[in-house]
Amino acid sequence: MDDDHDHGSELSPMEAKVRALETILTEKGYFDRKALDEIVETYETKIGPRNGAKVVALAWSDEAYRERLLTDASEAIAELGFTGRQGEHMVAVENTEQVHNLVVCTLCSCYPLPTLGLPPVWYKSAPYRSRAVMDPRGVLGDFGLKLPDNIEIRVWDSTAEMRYLVIPRRPAGTDGWDAERLAELVTRDSMIGTGLAKTPAQLGTPS
């Protein structure tokens, strides 16, 4: 072949490695294109923070559900059809007037996939993973969240077996709202603890 670069194609090292793994797995009979495409589609379109928002909104509007969620989150979340293929145990932690909860995974980036989908880039970053534990107030400040000094911040470190979902506080001015309407106030960050739920006035603004 000549040395005219325009005539060749290019694969980045990571693109080529994905293909290499596909070649090996196909030859060994482990590769299933259809199953793979379904997984990608599910995670891209069906599983996302809207699932978690439905859980939180129901807990806000249905006291019996809230109690079930706090007692056994895995079961309560499964009631809505969101089950983990990773089989991890879910724990719901509730924000109150005195306590604000923040979730991190210092070890890698464990994240409750069935309720929140795939983690955002910053959740996977070393600065977040290390600083959330050492300086949670500073991290919240970086997200524009200033909490009064009298509020205790509890940091929950996820593991392969244990994942956490923060139940943010229900915003004022939402009396009588049903779960569907309430769910619109629940942002992804509010369920990680790096944000609060939206107020009715903030609806329609980016989270």
């Binding site: 194609s9 290499a20 910053w122 593991t159």
Partner: protein
């Protein structure tokens, strides 16, 4: 150290949460879930492999600000497949080279195919 720019830049503008940046990331992720579903490894084994990979990348100087996450992911997948004896050490990198070579020999715009020696 202020991490705000790193935290907030690089974060996809995402009311609906993040998706994959590149097609290979989606495939790396889904391949892992697929192999887990087929019982090739447990999710605990997987997260152990991934944390090991992230630690070793950090040790060799990766600032690890989140953008290399799927690089670690794919490297961990390679490692666990070696551990599970589905592939041999070196086989993945040989095939990776072969795929890149095949790409160079493929006119732009045509599908890249790997012809395996039989």
């Amino acid at each position: 150290m202020n991490i705000a720019p790193k935290l907030l830049l690089g974060q996809p503008g995402d009311e609906d949460g993040p998706v994959f940046d590149k097609a290979w990331q989606a495939q790396a992720f889904a391949t892992t879930v697929m192999l887990h579903n087929r019982g090739v490894f447990t999710w605990t084994e997987w997260t152990a492999a991934l944390s090991r990979e992230i630690k070793s990348a950090q040790a060799s100087g990766d600032p690890d600000i989140g953008d290399s996450y799927y690089d670690h992911w794919l490297n961990a997948l390679e490692r666990i497949l070696v551990d599970k004896r589905i592939t041999k050490p070196g086989q993945v990198s040989d095939l990776t080279d072969a795929w890149q070579e095949a790409a160079l020999n493929t006119p732009h715009g045509q599908p890249i195919e790997l012809v395996r020696p039989t």
